[in-house]
């Protein structure tokens, strides 16, 4: 049974069909990339899975359970962590506190009004581990706003792993990074992915990155799936080439 399954997802914005009958599935421990030109509906698919948007029709099944229409925070509690295309962090807080708050989200005692030293210690330990993973340890005490753009993106990934998710969704993790930064990010991601049973859904523009990381690729074009398969097959697919060359109808 796949961990994540999208069945016939459709999302309309007025006359525009942003996502059109998308079927997609992801097995536990696998990495799937969703690629496609600008406006193909990649981020909309992300928002449908995480319940930020409600699908017009269709449903999302996670770990055998229908999660369509659940509140965003409930979906996150099921074990889905995500990063945003435009980096979402807590700028005035330290890097460690950013990640610690993310880790605390999965703590049963996160509601404690007073005290809570143990919750703090538990989540701080998880946070330090996640920062270590992302090689951000030396920035732990620095306000997130002071980090470079690349480090901020890695910080958001650190927050996502600190949530101990079963499904990690990364929305263009290398967007806006320099070449060196991208290489570094890919290396770090590679080291982290495929560890344990973590499944990853990745939206990415950079083909190099996609072919280095993904087990399977879904290609979206104008809201539709035009190809689905392992990297080599997708690379060879004629439709994909046309879509990417900005080709004809």
């Amino acid at each position: 049974m796949p961990l994540l399954e999208c069945r016939g997802l459709v999302r309309r914005f007025g006359a525009l069909v942003a996502v059109d009958a998308v079927d997609m599935s992801l097995d536990a421990g696998k990495i799937r990339a969703v690629i496609g030109p600008n406006g193909a509906g990649k981020s909309t698919v992300f928002n449908l899975i995480t319940s930020v948007l409600k699908p017009t029709t269709g449903e999302v099944i996670f770990a055998g359970e229908k999660i369509t229409g659940l509140p965003v925070h409930v979906v996150a509690q099921k074990g889905i962590a995500r990063t945003f295309q435009l980096c979402h962090i807590f700028p005035a807080l330290t890097a460690r506190e950013n990640v610690r708050i993310a880790a605390q989200a999965r703590d049963a005692q996160r509601w404690r009004f007073v005290g809570g030293g143990r919750v703090r210690n538990r989540s701080a330990a998880i946070a330090d581990e996640a920062l270590e993973h992302m090689r951000l340890t030396r920035f732990a005490g620095v306000a997130a706003a002071m980090l470079s753009h690349g480090d901020q993106r890695l910080l958001e990934v650190a927050m996502a792993i600190a949530q101990k998710p079963r499904l990690l969704m990364l929305d263009e993790p290398t967007q806006g990074l320099s070449l060196e930064e991208t290489d570094r990010a890919v290396q770090i991601l590679k080291g982290m992915l495929g560890v344990g049973n973590l499944s990853v859904l990745l939206v990415e523009h950079d083909m190099e990155v996609v072919f280095k990381l993904a087990d399977d690729i879904t290609v979206l074009h104008r809201g539709r799936v035009i190809a689905d398969g392992p990297p080599a097959a997708v690379k060879a697919n004629a439709d994909v080439r046309r879509a990417y060359l900005g080709g004809s109808e």
């Binding site: 965003v72 925070h73 807590f90 005692q109 404690r112 090689r135 030396r138 470079s148 949530q163």
Partner: protein, 326 residues
């Protein structure tokens, strides 16, 4: 660190003050501390959650009228009457918080204002209970429990207020430093992200508003017990505006700052109103000056002197070893 220093300096002053200042100044002092507590309660919303309430007078008025009704009708001891005013305020605050947090930003501010004005209007509608425009006068300070009477005098009442302020401050500080408080700072920094981490931010905001009403209600109850009357003006939007200014000028998001802001403004107002009728002009000018030149407030200016500039490790290279290359 600077907080401890400030405490070591101000605590003895606070305790010894009644023996130094003349009786009439004690009145201003007590009012100042009550307003300090009131401003601190609003800081929970404004400073930690970016919930700008423009109707916090509702908390003050609810606390004051609850205490007034309990003390005049039930003849309960003063301490118990004030103590009961807090849950009474909270009971009303829960539906208000539930409704107001459905919206954000300006509409949140307008909704809170609407509830405060609704409270104001209801005082006139239910004249039999609330005394209408006369308010409730002649609120007693019944002795007890255990026959205690120390709070009936001015000096005793001063210590009661000081104790409540100090206790509330410690509690609020524990709250903002708790796991709950950490989530509030997340909401302040980026609510969307906080939701996507798995936090039900609406519930956190409701809890914060209710807490703020609780502490604000305590301030109102202390005021009613002290002044001996509760009048509709306590619910009026001018009170909400004043306390919001106190929070901003004192330093939002610091708890201590708004206490200082509250005390500061009550004194400035008291002194200036004896000299000139134009004191609101000065009040407004101070506010504008702070917003323009010191948005971090009085406490922000004070603590900036103690704080070191953060040291940022060199960026670029990911590995510890690649630092040199950067």
């Amino acid at each position: 660190m600077s907080g401890k220093v400030a405490f070591a300096l101000t605590a003895p002053v606070g305790v010894l003050l009644p023996f130094v200042v003349p009786q009439y100044s004690l009145t201003v002092l007590i009012e100042a501390l009550i307003f300090g507590l009131f401003a601190m309660s609003l800081d929970l919303m404004v400073g930690y959650c970016r919930l700008y309430s423009f109707g916090h007078s509702a908390a003050y008025g609810l606390g004051a009228y609850s205490a007034a009704l309990i003390l005049t009708h039930l003849q309960l001891p003063l301490l118990i009457g004030i103590g009961l005013a807090v849950p009474a305020t909270i009971a009303v605050a829960i539906p208000i918080a539930w409704i107001c947090t459905r919206s954000t930003g300006v509409s949140f501010a307008m909704l809170t204002l609407a509830f405060a004005q609704l409270g104001y209007a209801m005082l006139f509608r239910f004249r039999d209970i609330t005394g209408g425009s006369d308010g409730i006068v002649g609120i007693p300070r019944p002795p007890g429990p255990f026959g205690m009477t120390w709070f009936q005098g001015k000096i005793g009442y001063y210590y009661l207020v000081l104790g409540c302020l100090f206790g509330s401050y410690l509690l609020c500080r524990a709250i903002v430093r708790s796991p709950f408080g950490a989530v509030l700072s997340g909401i302040r920094e980026n609510e969307r992200k906080t939701v996507s981490l798995g936090y039900n931010t609406r519930a956190y905001k409701i809890a914060t508003v209710v807490l703020a009403y609780g502490f604000g209600g305590l301030a109102g109850a202390l005021y009613a017990g002290f002044a001996g009357f509760a009048s509709p003006e306590l619910f009026f939007w001018l009170v909400s505006g004043r306390v919001l200014i106190m929070v901003v000028v004192g330093g939002a998001g610091t708890l201590i700052g708004p206490i200082i802001g509250g005390v500061f403004f009550v004194f400035v107002e008291h002194e200036l109103s004896q000299v000139t009728d134009l004191w609101p002009l000065v009040f407004g000018s101070i506010f504008i000056a702070f917003v323009m030149f010191a948005p971090e407030g009085i406490w922000g200016i004070v603590t900036a002197r103690f704080k070191q500039k953060p040291i940022v490790p060199s960026s670029a290279g990911g590995e510890e070893t690649s630092d040199a290359a950067a």
